[in-house]
Subunit: 312 residues, 3 copies
Amino acid sequence: MKNYTSIKDIEHIDNWIQEAKELKRKPLNNNLLGKNKTLGLLFFNSSLRTRLSTQKAALNLGMDPIVMNVTGDAWGIEFGDGTVMNGTTAEHIKEGAAVISQYCDIIAVRAFPTLTDKEKDESEEVLESFVKFASVPVVSMESATGHPLQGLTDAITISENTTKKKPKVVLSWAPHVKALPHAVANSFTQAMQKMDVEFVITNPEGYNLSSEITKDTPIYHNQEEAFKDADFIYTKNWSSYDDYGKILKTDLDWMITKEKIGDAKFMHCLPVRRNVVVEDAVLDSDSSLVIAQANNRTYAAQLVLKKILENL
Amino acid sequence: MKNYTSIKDIEHIDNWIQEAKELKRKPLNNNLLGKNKTLGLLFFNSSLRTRLSTQKAALNLGMDPIVMNVTGDAWGIEFGDGTVMNGTTAEHIKEGAAVISQYCDIIAVRAFPTLTDKEKDESEEVLESFVKFASVPVVSMESATGHPLQGLTDAITISENTTKKKPKVVLSWAPHVKALPHAVANSFTQAMQKMDVEFVITNPEGYNLSSEITKDTPIYHNQEEAFKDADFIYTKNWSSYDDYGKILKTDLDWMITKEKIGDAKFMHCLPVRRNVVVEDAVLDSDSSLVIAQANNRTYAAQLVLKKILENL
Amino acid sequence: MKNYTSIKDIEHIDNWIQEAKELKRKPLNNNLLGKNKTLGLLFFNSSLRTRLSTQKAALNLGMDPIVMNVTGDAWGIEFGDGTVMNGTTAEHIKEGAAVISQYCDIIAVRAFPTLTDKEKDESEEVLESFVKFASVPVVSMESATGHPLQGLTDAITISENTTKKKPKVVLSWAPHVKALPHAVANSFTQAMQKMDVEFVITNPEGYNLSSEITKDTPIYHNQEEAFKDADFIYTKNWSSYDDYGKILKTDLDWMITKEKIGDAKFMHCLPVRRNVVVEDAVLDSDSSLVIAQANNRTYAAQLVLKKILENL
């Protein structure tokens, strides 16, 4: 594997899950693999879990992480081809990515979508420009349309916590006060489609994810119906895809409650707004897997970095 | 010891001082103790000495420091219980602290007071929330009401520089243009109360520290009288405690001068505003211990981290 | 060598170039030299290449880099002597530099010029204050009037890429939308003056660099004439030195084009504004050495740090 930019880069997810579980048991077993190798973590946007867990993963492999908040620490980056750069951007991605490749053995990038320009977001301009112009492997730490480290984490967590051969997993939209990306929901969907689970999505009308992502996954507009016999309820807000980036609904009737989820396990990628997305009673109960998920972020990142390092 | 959040966590300060002096002589003697362990340094506020010395201390112990400016790098953190999070905060401390505990073996936190809400500040909302919700040890890098790494540093520095069995130590208020916290003065007071010194405080009327801190320590409103026969003059501005967070006095008659201090050693936690808090002639003379104090920050932090690591 | 703040600190540049080439062949050969030593990287301004390459260089030598964005992470620094600090600055450089010296074995500083106060800029207030008040070696990561790590890099790159015994090297001004410093052009000029090259400068009238820098280096106001038989064309914008910090010219007739440079190699320190400073066709061609230059930043920094470490 060269780059890791999408759940599509996972050939056999069950094998990856097994490998991640092994890493988790012995996280320092490969701690010479990354010796004298640097991981550049480039943030165009805020990050807590990804920032810390990816550094921890790199350290477990013996790598040296170098963190940079691109906009604040460095220069405004230009992505347009042929642009006359007489505006606010000072460095073109062609140079930027090639230059960073001189100092970092692997480049990890976080860049959120605009949520106003669907075409631009779907082109994955930032991430794909790094892939194109970097001479070293590139890892997505969440891009405009995907969060594949999170999706892999979630697959590991479900595998660890299921008691059934083929559990029922529901991805449920939930309300939020801000317009949020589709990245987490997309990657979760793609991960579940690769696993041996009964996977359904539930969201209000107008909130269907891109049909290129959901494919033949059943979509319910009735949350209660979708939740029936669920083993895992993965919750996430996203803004409308069809009416791109818009908030169509703000009332709390889709908020996740203890009553709604019954015996199912609750999952969320975090950060989560309490009593908007989900009520306290869920997060504060044993049904919640959110901290276990966060913990698995380290091993998902470590597995990806390990696979790339082995291939350098 | 699990957490280090207050001078109260020091049982026998004389033993700690001896241990710190040993660490200072051989700072790399324990450099395998922290191997493969991460220290998360979380800053809600600016920091220079604490930022650098705590990283240096961690490195001396073989730890990997991971620094995060919480607000800029990550998300706005919510501390309220039961809050409907539909405002500006995106992550609750319940998740935040638990999540960071997945990646860091020790969490160090800096969070200044509001200086407008006494009750909130005295509740130590931020620091105590980390203590409550983190599953790993927590170290204060200055909180609303205390700066125990500084207090320990100051105790070490006085011990190193005294020529007497029981020196006279004066904590003196000095003027400043901004409303400053009580944290340093509080922790210094608590440290001195544990040491075999003659300790007095001097400040203008209206500037008494909390009586729960000062206890039976003599307070002089006459600076000259307090300075008589002093061996160490520790200077710090703080805003009014009684008229909470207010600046009652801005004229420079309480500024520390060479003439005032005589043969006493001058101490300050830094940063210090020259010719407002203290005149150049003091800082630029041999009477000043401020750089020696700054140096001891490393060993105070290293001692605290060592004690916690030994207990993990 | 104690400090590295100017190309003048290089005694025999040819020897340095040879040493840097050796480091480049075996970058990890000295990876115990910096063990348990910290490099403090202090940024008063943005940085990408310098930020990453200097960290990489430190890591190659086994050092622990500690990065600080001074203004954002710490406190406003006061440089004036005798100032009554009742304004916005909270820490004097006298304490700042001395304190940082307690935690870092070498201090690297980036501080750009004002471009409004020539006298202040030429005094190198920030860099020289660190040199004066730090008790450890200081390295310039670009100061008001020089960028000696870049100048050394450029000398290495020219040496690596020349096919002639005495190549012709041209430093050409190019247009830009913002007023830029003279630092890179100054240090490049000083480096070329130490090398066995035919060196000329070309810039529009009113854009001559300081005559204390250019000395007897020929200056052409006709770009075409200067470019004749050039082997290397090093391009950089700078604001007027005589009409200090002003932009006198914005039209693109001095922009570097494929046609203009002919068979010469193109060099630039980056970041570069495409189609303002230089057209795409140059940067995207084999004539461009900009990425090779960026790569050599690591070895220039590593050589400087190695020389300082060997002298500690």
